[in-house]
């Protein structure tokens, strides 16, 4: 099967001019237009929204169902909602129950006064809520562990963020268009040590849509062929992930397991040479470091060196050519945006941020307390 249509709204703090249904259908219509299809060609609709509390409305996405009588399901897996929705659509297509799936993810957090108060409610209401544990402090715990165990520095986090901002300057849909150097980032306010403000993701609204077609329905369209997809869930309690033999909290076992399965399906044996583009769901620049060994780019202890290698070794894949989540983080949609951007790259349709001769890309999703991980491999080659 292949992704034959991609549609995205722009990403920004709040789409005050658009209703939720407007945002959904803006993305959907763009994706269908890209695919050269009408909605009548769609056999199933999968929507991804999470969590309801950010939108202040229960089931906000259902306002966009206009009566086509299509099968419809809604996915909610936190940060991986977008990729889980795409995978659900792929399963409908793979099962033969649908030739064409329209999958859409919506983020409507512009109506939330503060996302961190909402994200505080993902943690245990009795033992953890007053900690105060939020997605920022959760990421800070991991960043400090990475620094202690593997020798990363605050400048490493700033270098990753600077690369993302630099790439986002060429992505017209990105939320943040600022040319920030590592020094600028290190000079930004500290949110929770060691995370500076510009190493964190913004609060973004937006919608992303994909059209996924069975091979028989692709026709002469330019497709991003799905070569491997995998999803893995991990334990909730962070304390349970410190001393287990399978891997520690920062080994990102769920991503590693997903990558192993997706790579096997795609025939990838060396991530450094077999991939051209990497679109990561790392909402904090420091979180990106956990993905390097999990995706097979380097050994864990060589992570700091790998950041430097990215700056000097042109043979390595290009990381986050879209700018990644530092440049736009519409939470429910972000993991789908990674897939969408990867699809645009291997289809040669990424515009100003196109990576030359991109033939194969990996897109990741990350959700929960670094608990849910997805990996999607897309390629330009039509299968035999």
């Amino acid at each position: 099967m292949a992704i034959v249509g991609v549609g995205q709204t722009s990403y920004k703090r709040a789409h005050t001019e658009l209703s939720s249904a407007d945002m959904i259908w803006t993305a959907a219509e763009l994706a269908l237009e890209d695919a050269g299809m009408g909605v009548d060609a769609v056999d199933v609709i999968v929507m991804g929204v999470a969590p309801d509390a950010l939108a202040g409305e229960n089931g906000v996405e259902k306002t966009a169902i206009f009566g086509a009588g299509k099968p419809y399901v809604r996915v909610n897996t936190g940060g991986v909602t977008g990729s889980s929705a795409a995978f659900a659509g792929a399963s409908y297509v793979g099962s033969g129950r649908a030739k064409v799936a329209l999958v859409i993810s919506l983020e409507r957090m512009g109506q939330a006064t503060t996302s961190q108060q909402v994200f505080n409610t993902i943690f245990d209401p009795v033992y953890e809520k007053d900690f105060p544990l939020t997605t920022i402090t959760m990421a800070a715990l991991r960043a400090s562990l990475l620094m202690r165990v593997y020798g990363y520095s605050e400048r490493d986090w700033a270098l990753i963020a600077a690369r993302n901002y630099r790439n986002a300057l060429r992505n017209p849909l990105a939320h943040i268009h600022k040319d920030l150097s590592a020094d600028d980032i290190l000079a930004s306010p500290m949110l929770a040590w060691p995370i500076h403000r510009f190493e964190a993701c913004p609060m973004s609204e937006g919608a992303c849509a994909l059209v996924i077609a069975a091979q028989s329905a692709v026709g002469d369209r330019t497709g991003a062929w799905v070569q491997g997809i995998a999803s893995t869930s991990d334990s909730y309690a962070m304390g349970d992930r410190f001393h287990r033999p399978e891997g520690t909290l920062v080994d990102l076992l769920s991503l590693r397991r997903s990558a192993e399965r997706a790579y096997a399906d795609a025939g990838i044996t060396d991530a450094r040479t077999d991939l051209d583009v990497v679109e990561l769901y790392s909402p904090f620049s420091s979180a990106e470091a956990m993905t390097y060994p999990a995706l097979g780019f380097c050994e864990p202890q060589h992570g700091p060196r790998f950041i430097q290698e990215q700056l000097t070794d042109a043979s390595l894949p290009v990381f986050n050519p879209s700018g990644g989540p530092q440049a736009a983080n519409p939470v429910s949609a972000t993991a789908m945006v990674r897939i969408a951007e990867s699809a645009l790259q291997v289809r040669g349709m990424a515009g100003e941020h196109q990576v030359p001769e991109a033939r194969r890309a990996v897109a990741t999703g990350q959700g929960g307390a670094t608990q849910f991980s997805t990996v999607c491999i897309l390629g330009a080659e039509r299968p035999e």
């Binding site: 249904a21 199933v44 609709i45 929204v49 999470a50 969590p51 309801d52 509390a53 950010l54 409305e57 229960n58 089931g59 259902k62 306002t63 169902i65 206009f66 009566g67 086509a68 009588g69 299509k70 099968p71 419809y72 399901v73 809604r74 996915v75 909610n76 897996t77 936190g78 889980s84 995978f87 792929a90 399963s91 409908y92 793979g94 099962s95 033969g96 129950r97 909402v118 994200f119 409610t121 993902i122 943690f123 245990d124 209401p125 997809i229 995998a230 999803s231 893995t232 869930s233 991990d234 334990s235 909730y236 399978e246 769920s254 397991r257 959700g367 929960g368 307390a369 608990q371 849910f372």
Partner: protein, 354 residues
Amino acid sequence: MPIYVEGVALEVSFADARRNLSELIFDAVRAAVDDSGRDMGEIDSVVLAAHDLVDGRSLSSMVTAPAAGAYLRDETRYSDDGAAAFAAAMTRLEAGDNTRSIVAAWGRCSEHDPDAFSRALFDPFMTRPLGLDEFVLSGMRAQIYLAGDGVREARSRATSRRREAARRNPRALKSGGFTSTPHYPLEETDMPLWADITVAMVLSTEPAAVRVAGMGQSSEPYLFGDRELRSIRSLEWAADRALADAGLGGDLVDLAEVDGLTLIDEALGLEAVGFATRGGGMAALADDPRANPSGGGASGYSRPAMGLMRIAEAVLQLRGSAGPVQVDGARTALASGSSTVAGQTQTAIVLAAA
């Protein structure tokens, strides 16, 4: 590729102070896996149906998924009805993504306010201030439905039969629970009995006692004014697809377990799936022991578990293990699950004894 139900577990309780939500989920999933005769090493997929606003925390699957057996497995969660999760799990198996999957759904009414959940479904600026909730919409449906010939007369008999079925059903809530205040013309006996419900199943591509013969899904517009009040078109379309999949007619299945928020919604549901004729749904509930033999919403109700609960009851019927509410000789069954608003999205599942 045929899909089979290898294991099933269903528990209806209320305010069990000995167990938290994770423990309720773990117990149901464990029971379903035990019922399947498999061990966890043979299961590679977990598909859940759960609502954050029901579970009382954002991204509740962070804590509930591990309890449902998701540790280091391919897991996903639908904020949709349990029957939709069942259908989605089927597609994962049919696509070859997985070989054996847990499906689980739950809702704990003793720890959330189902009326507040319902009110939150409506737009905060335009419709929520009107006081709309799902029972208002069911009441609007009831007004037109109860005007039909003989429907009011059948309603009292249907109420009696539904209560008696729930009394006899060993899986129904026997004490505790509560009902919401009915809106005219609904009466208290039309209302669902809010309960704590956990349901789990094991689906497989390997032959087992119950085969999934058909699956269909559909949807309707969001705005109630854009829909036909007198019928549930999305369920009609979903059932048509499921029955075509199974090569059956709605009137040919041996029993129906149809989800509906109120007694009137159950009657409309039976008509939508073709188990009863148009206008005959209430009479079917009143007089046909094959129509919602479990007692429907009177045996316990909590979103988003209801579709999976209906499927579980149908599976038990086809295995001949439904107990005092067993329908003799049942070989085929149709079960449905609906999701908000007012059954906007529907899933129909046709099951057959293998």
